[in-house]
Symmetry: C2
Subunit: 378 residues, 2 copies
């Protein structure tokens, strides 16, 4: 490992045609910055659910085996045969991992914009962040305010922009309040802080009393537990009170998305004057943005004809809103230590991230467990 930044470790994920996942560390030369580029020494990069999707793919991590050395660990695991079809596009191709991160600019290209970043702590997005060094366009760097550490700025994009994107989608599509599932997550807590600050009604759906407690502690008003026997009634009441007709669902599989639509329709119908067998004419929408449950989505369609379900993807949303995305980024920076503060349960090196004992913890995607990688640790 060099310390001059000319080369550094990177963490790629490979799924072979044979059905084997292999995660390892490789030493790669750092790309020389062109005039408008800079080299960032990555010091903090989170393990988000969206990163795990690429890191472990469809592999069954309970089959994970460690080999290699302490400095160059290798993890292998089996991809179940039935899941291989979904992996077709990435077979035998080494995929660098890590959507976002933060670090310090250690070398720059010749342009004034690039030079101005020398020594600055910046946040970046764009993949391959599980690496010691990353060469990126100067214009892609979000300069963090003085006194902000890379760890504090590591999660500037995915969770903050996703939660702001949900609120922005609500406004653009004419809804007045929101529903969120898996609501006690880091992202869910952020969304609560935004909605409390902006005065937006938010119905939080969690899966245990413990998760409900996490949200109540940060001031959440509407928290319903899908494991409770009164779930449907509780949800309908919360929807009637908030008027929420838009939901963001991180779970995807099972009946939850359909149950949300059913309860929305029931809440709306409380004030219905005239019977229509097509249901109310109020549009009810669920966006699935995650897949914590990879099983099928089941809709019983007891919610009339005025509804929609669809996928929601941050990158496409940002593309759609174009220049307006800048306002969202500015808000993230100005509220980085409050609304958008992330909590991590552990900071690990790249080598530690490939220890089976650590993988066993972070690959569960359990609410409250969140890892940060410091590729230049120790």
């Amino acid at each position: 490992m060099s310390t001059d930044g000319n080369s550094g470790l990177q963490l790629p994920s490979l799924i072979k045609k044979s059905g084997e996942l292999e995660i390892s560390l490789v030493n790669v030369p750092t790309k020389e910055p062109s005039a408008d580029e800079v080299v960032v020494r990555i010091e903090a990069t989170p393990i988000n659910p969206s990163d795990l999707g690429l890191l472990t793919g469809a592999a069954d991590m309970t089959t994970a085996k460690a080999s290699g050395t302490r400095d160059a660990p290798v993890i292998t695991a089996k991809v179940p045969e039935g899941a291989m079809r979904a992996m077709a596009g990435r077979l035998d191709e080494s995929m660098p991992v890590g959507n976002e991160g933060a670090g310090v600019v250690i070398r720059t290209g010749s342009s004034p914009a690039a030079k101005a970043l020398m020594g600055k702590t910046v946040a970046i997005i764009g993949g391959a962040m599980y690496a010691q060094y990353r060469t990126v366009a100067a214009s892609d760097c979000l300069v963090l305010p003085e006194g902000t550490s890379p760890a504090e700025g590591a999660s500037c994009f995915v969770n903050p922009l996703t939660s702001l994107g949900m609120v922005e989608t609500m406004r653009r599509e004419g809804h007045k309040a929101l529903v969120h599932t898996a609501a006690a997550s880091n992202l869910g807590q952020m969304l609560n802080k935004i909605c409390l600050k902006d005065g937006i009604g938010l119905v939080n759906i969690v899966r245990s009393p413990q998760q409900a407690e996490i949200l109540r502690k940060i001031g959440a008003k509407y928290v319903v537990d899908s494991a409770s026997s009164s779930f449907m009634a509780d949800l309908t009441n919360a929807l009637a009170e908030t008027g929420a007709t838009l939901a963001f669902d991180a779970i995807g599989g099972g009946k939850l998305a359909g149950q949300i639509l059913t309860c929305m329709e029931a809440a709306i119908s409380r004030n219905a004057k005239v019977y229509s067998r097509y249901g109310s004419n109020v549009h009810k929408q669920v966006y699935i943005y995650g897949g914590l449950d990879t099983g099928p989505t089941e809709l019983n369609r007891t919610f009339g004809m005025t509804w929609g379900i669809g996928g929601w993807l941050l990158f496409q949303f940002l593309q759609k809103i174009g220049p307006d995305a800048i306002k969202l980024r500015q808000r993230v920076v100005s509220e980085l230590k409050t609304t958008f503060a992330s909590r991590y349960t552990k900071v690990v090196s790249l080598q530690e991230a490939l220890q089976p004992s650590e993988i066993a913890v972070y690959a569960k995607r359990a609410t409250g467990e969140k890892y940060l990688i410091n590729p230049n640790k120790g």
Copy 2:
């Protein structure tokens, strides 16, 4: 039964709190036309799937029993307990049936617009058409061209505007070709005629070789059979050839909607250069506009993140496009005997429509079986 039009028979459907459906004929006074209204003697009104939804509701028609007399028949049937919740909005309320129809104006209000319609054959939409007389606004009457019979004009709205609405939705939402399920229906045949005439790619999904044959005979190019073992491959090929990324699904329940999205994604991915675990960035949409299968919709979500499913309702679509709806109506009138011609397997009176032997046929909603009611027959 009077023949002066001062009163006439009407067919209401009633679902009682006790869980019993009752369909009968009642004699009602004809509403006196106000200045801008006319009285139409209804001579043809079709039994569309959308009418059956109101006529029989969630009742199990295999339990149907006949009573009353030949002139005043009464049909009763049981609504399964589990289906009663969906009927909550209409319990103990007599619902007149019949979305659309055609007939002759026999009396008018005093306004010039109303008077101008005297003796004309007109088509109308607006409910309660399973009746001998109907008083409606003159402005709601679509005057049929000379030489058009009420039977020829009975289905001027639901099927023609639905099929035109599908094509119009395709254009407005930026798709270039269409998929249609239960495609051998009256509506599906109309859609084929429109697409052939307008040069639009249409992938027809049917459920038997017989249905495929019906469509091939009228010139359909892409017909795939969901009962065939090569269905998924056939559908993917047709989607790749047409570039269809929008589907209208009359079935609703089961796996079909999800299969369509899966095949669309597979067709798009044939030309993919770069792997993205979120799938392609091409939006794929399925609109469910019917419920031939009332079971749950099951989506296995093997089609990336850029997709949507939702309900589609003619009335809301027409409301959304506002004045542009006039152009669609004009096209229906000018192509009434060609593109928008409907075929009926039987013409029945109101009394005959309540014979158990007839109900057994039309309540099956079988492709190719379509009834027309003439409330003033014999």
